[in-house]
Every structure is written in C-alpha cells, then in structure tokens.
C-alpha cells in the first residue's frame, strides 16, 4: 500500500532523512521507534506532504500512485490521514465544522463524538484550551470521520492519562480494524515514544530510526523490549 524508496529529506536546509526505505502492506500496522530528533515526525510529515519537508531524492508511492510531490489535500483524498502531535488552534472554527469537513456529513461527526463521549466539545473552537488527552481525542475523531486507508499517528498516547488511554486505544483499534482477525484493509504507521500503545494495539512490524535512517526492523514487541532494556543504541547495534 505504501512504498518508500531511498527517501532523502531536508528541513530548513538540514538533511534529516537519509535514505529511508519502508514498505507497509494493506492491513498492516507498523510502529516507529526512535529518540527525539531522529526524524520520525519528519517522515510522517513528508508522507503527508507538508511544506518545509523537501524531498531531495527518492520516491513515495501509495496505492500504486507516485505521491512524492502531490499536494497534501490530494493525498488526504487518496486515503492518507494523520493525527498530529501538536496541532494548531483554529479560532472560530468549531470542532463540529471540522468533523463535518472530514466526514462530509454533520450527522456522522455528531454520532462519532457522541460514541466516544466527546460531544460536549463539538461547539468549541478546535484545540483552543484543549488538554493533551482532549487534543488526541479530537485528532482521532477527525480521523474516524475521515476514515483513511493509511493512518499516520504521531505519538497518540503522549499527554494522555490512564483513564483516557483506554478510549484513545479503542479509537485507534477502530481506525485500524483491530477487532477483525482477517481481511483488514486499513494500514497504520504509529510513532510511539513510550510503547504503551502496544499494550492496547497490536502491531505487525517495528522499525527503529536513528539519525535519519531506519536501522532495525522486526517484531515490534521484541524491539520495544530491547529498547527498554538496553536503550536505542544497543538495540540498533544488536540487529545490525
């Protein structure tokens, strides 16, 4: 579904991604581990096509289409969705307006918000005064309304308390069709720092990023255990 080949990306004139190769098949969920500044968020932003992330070399294809230089909204229309770690505040734009944009229908937005106990936020300005957990819920609601085929999640569990973690996990499981045992069609790429999300959401593959390169691939739980035990460097070395 998503194929990234030899991707080199510059941000503000600085080389951040240095030859990334990544392949995610339909129905697979991948996890991306790595220290702060290793390039994880840059990879997600580049897949989504944001300005400021300049592709110097390489190719991204999605559903067989070359999307390397495609505008962000066309990627969204093609079926890629992203949950931001720190989304901007949109003054005067109500959450229900945004959910309506995502779903193409007000009723779907309202129904989803109700389902996840977030309906009292519908008339609030998007992200204005939202807590960490509320931001994540709002982001995931937008994604559920959008219903993308490839879900990019940037640290979905950061800043979320235990109680809300359950709901967040439930939303992610819904996005990635985790209650199905077979014939999943949705794919996911999840950046996780703490790995907590792995307790709730199963992943098929893990990758460790270090200094703009993917240095290790394998079973996500095993990789995460390695990171917990030995830190990133050891984890990377043992698999080189």
């Amino acid at each position: 579904m998503l194929h990234i080949e030899d991707l080199w990306v510059e941000v503000h004139g600085k080389e951040v991604l240095k030859g990334i190769n990544l392949h995610i098949n339909q129905g697979e969920t991948h996890c991306l581990f790595g220290k702060n500044g290793s390039g994880k968020t840059t990879l997600l932003m580049t897949i989504m096509g944001f300005s400021g992330y300049k592709v110097k070399q390489g190719r991204i294809t999605f559903k067989g289409e070359d999307i390397t230089y495609m505008p962000t909204n066309q990627r969204a229309k093609l079926g890629i969705g992203i949950s931001f770690q720190r989304p901007p505040t949109l003054r005067g734009v109500k959450l229900i307006d945004l959910l309506t944009i995502c779903a193409g229908s007000k009723e779907i937005g309202q129904g989803l918000a109700k389902l996840y106990g977030f309906d009292h936020f519908l008339e609030r300005d998007v992200n204005l005064g939202f807590s960490g957990g509320e931001i994540k819920k709002s982001e995931l609601l937008q994604l559920l309304a959008q219903n993308p085929d490839l879900v990019l999640l940037d640290e979905p569990e950061s800043g979320v308390d235990i109680e809300n973690l359950q709901i967040i996990a439930e939303m992610i499981r819904k996005l990635l069709q985790k209650d199905r045992r077979r014939n999943r069609t949705k794919s996911g790429l999840i950046i996780t720092h703490t790995g907590f999300i792995l307790n709730y959401v199963t992943a098929d593959k893990g990758h460790v990023m270090l200094d703009g390169k993917i240095r290790c691939e394998g079973n996500p739980v095993e990789i995460f255990q390695g990171i917990q035990k030995f830190g990133y460097l050891e984890c990377v070395q043992c698999n080189m």
């Binding site: 505008p71 949109l90 005067g92 307006d97 944009i101 959008q146």
Partner: protein, 383 residues
C-alpha cells in the same frame, strides 16, 4: 484635515420629515446588512432615525421605554443624572458639536427587574449625500434588568460621503446586564466619530460586540467603561475588516475602579489593504481585579497596516492583568492542517477567515452571514 475642518466639510442635515415616506426594498436590505430587521415580531422594540429625524420609535414589552432623546430630555427634566455624565462634554470638537447642534438620538430605559428576551433594535441611518448626523444616546438598564440591544449604523445604498457623530452614554445599575451589539455598515467616504462611556455599578455586566465588515473612510472611537461597583464586569469583542481605503482607529478602555471587577477586551482584525489601529487599555485601580486583553490581526494583502497597541496599567499591587497580541498572515501550519483533512488551499484559507470572523450573536438577521461570505471572497482575492 483637522477636526474642525472635518465638521465644516459636511453640511448639517436639512429639516425634513420622513414620517410618511416608505423605505425602498434596497434600503430595507441595506438595513438588514447592518443587523436591523424592521419587519419582525421577534423584537422588543425599535428605533429608527433617518438623517436628523426620528422616523420610528416603539417599545413592545412593558419593561422597556424607548424615546427620541429630545423627548426624553423634556420628559425627564434634562436627564440631569445622565446627560454628559459618562462622556465629557468638552472632550473634543465632536462632543462639543453634538452638544451645540444635536439632531436627535435614542433614549432606552429597561425598567427595574425587567428581563427582555428579544433584542431591541436601533438604527441610525444617513440617507442624503454629504451631510452630517449628530446623535446623543442614553441607555439606562435599571437594577436587575436584562436586555440585548442591536444598533445598526448605515447609509443609503447609493450614498458615498457623510459624517456621523454619535455620543452614547450607558448606565448599568446594580446587578443589571446588557449586551450591546453595534454593526457599522457605512460607505466608502463616510467619517465616523463615536464617543462612548459606560458606567457600571455592583455586579452589573456590559458586553459589547462591535462588527465592521465594509469599507469606510475613517472611524475613530475609544469607548470607555468605568467599573465603579464591586464585581462589575465589562467585555468588549470586536470583529473588524479593513478593505483598501479604510482607516480604522479603534480601541476599548476599561477603568477597573472597584474590587473584584473584571474586564476583557478581545479584538479580531483583518486588513486587506486598509489601515487599522487595534488599541486596548486596561486600568487596574482596585484590589482583586482581573483583566485580559487580546488582539489578533490577520494581514491578507501586501498593502495596508495593522497596529496592535495593548496597554496595561496597574495602580495597586493585588491585580491580575494580562495581554496577548499576534499579527501576521494566516499560519501555514493552520492551512496545511485543514489540507490534511482534505480541503484545498483556498478552501482552507476561507475556513480560517470565516472562523476568524465568526460572529454568532443571537438576534442578528441571516443577511449578516452573507456579508461575511462576501468578505471571505474579497479576502481570497488579496491572497
């Protein structure tokens, strides 16, 4: 042009009686764009002044009294406790002019304890080219009363130039509550000089909404609220658009004279070629007051200017005062956030601008939304 020259540049409105004249469809639409819907049952009263003359003045519920100010002055013995008590008579050339050569204005009194649900509409309308209109308004909200006033200020659809001088004095008594929404919809060569003072007693609340979406030559205003009673609160919200050729010098000032009083000034400004001063001045003179000021400005074209000038002034130690101001173009991050949800670049910009101009105030006619849509379109041209 100095103030005196400006006043002299416009002739006084000639004596004219509009009582038997009907407003055309064009004019009624123009009024709706200024927030005034004359043909509705959902109002608690209405007042319409054309040029110098009061055309229409009517109060519906018992607790509301609306009079032309000249009648009120006679009825209430010169309104001694109110007349020039919240605004200084000798403040400037415009207040002096309004004092010496008054056309008319409205007197609105909400009687003690009355809770008025529907809005009271007042409209100041300049119908003839090149004249000045000088009004003096008094609004009294008596103890425990609650009301909502919408004032639309506008000109004839084909008129280009004029001068409007408007003195407004508000008296919000103990525990009273007033929402005052003013919509300016002037013409491109109109000069506007409102002079406004608001005096608030204990636990009273004054909420001001100011909306100006259309071109106007020049507006200069700096309403001042005096929180004289403990726990009083004043809130000023403004949404202002300055197209090319408009010069707007707008501010709000709150003097927090009493303990535990609160003030908030929030201004949102868009320039696509025009010049705007967004001023705010909070003066803390009593303990345990809380005051916040916020100026947001969007520059949507290469010409024009927005100057945000927030000012905080504390006179005692135990105060909580803050401000934030941000001026610039629409953040790329916001546009791309919406693009990631499937909107095109243009759609994202208009969603953000529409949000910025979002004014959901009860009792405003839907035509005002059309007006906002039009502004959104205009703004896109400048991007």
């Amino acid at each position: 042009m100095d103030d005196q020259e400006l006043i002299k540049a416009f002739k006084p409105a000639p004596e004219k009686d509009f009582s038997s004249e009907e407003l055309s469809e064009d004019e009624l639409l123009r009024l709706r764009h200024a927030g005034i819907e004359l043909n509705t049952d959902k109002k608690a009263g209405s007042f319409l002044q054309i040029n110098q003359a009061v055309k229409h003045c009517q109060a519906v519920p018992e607790g509301v009294e609306i009079l032309p100010i000249k009648e009120a002055l006679k009825k209430y013995d010169g309104l001694k406790d109110y007349w020039w008590k919240a605004v200084e008579k000798d403040k400037d050339a415009f207040t002096k002019e309004a004092d010496q050569d008054l056309d008319n204005g409205y007197f609105i009194r909400i009687k003690k304890g009355a809770v008025v649900n529907y809005p009271i509409q007042s409209c100041l309308y300049i119908r003839d080219e090149g004249i000045s209109q000088k009004v003096h308004n008094i609004v009294i909200v008596e103890e425990g009363a609650k009301a909502n006033i919408i004032t639309g200020c506008t000109t004839h659809p084909h008129l280009k130039s004029g001068l409007h001088i408007g003195v407004s004095e508000f008296f919000i008594e103990k525990g009273a509550y007033l929402i005052f929404t003013m919509i300016h919809n002037w013409a491109e060569d109109v000069y506007v000089r409102p002079r406004t003072g608001i005096i608030l007693k204990e636990r009273s609340v004054f909420v001001s909404n100011y909306i100006s979406l259309k071109g106007v030559k020049s507006v200069q205003t700096f309403p001042t609220a005096y929180l004289n009673g403990e726990g009083a609160m004043a809130s000023f919200n403004s949404v202002v658009v300055a197209p090319k050729g408009s010069s707007l010098d707008l501010g709000s000032r709150v003097v927090l004279n009493a303990p535990k009083s609160k003030a908030e000034i929030i201004s949102r400004t868009i320039s696509y070629g025009g010049s705007v001063y967004a001023r705010g001045h909070l003066i803390g003179k009593a303990k345990e007051i809380k005051a916040h000021l916020e100026c947001q400005g969007l520059m949507l074209s290469k010409s024009g200017v927005i100057r945000a000038i927030p000012e905080l002034e504390a006179h005692v130690p135990d105060v909580d005062m803050s401000h934030e101001a941000a001026v610039g173009r629409i953040a790329q991050e916001e546009i791309e956030y919406l693009m990631a949800r499937g909107l095109s670049d243009e759609e994202a910009v208009s969603t953000i601008v529409r949000g910025f101009l979002n004014v959901k105030i009860e009792g405003l006619p839907p035509e005002l939304d059309d007006e906002i849509q039009e502004v959104v379109k205009e703004c896109q041209k400048g991007m």
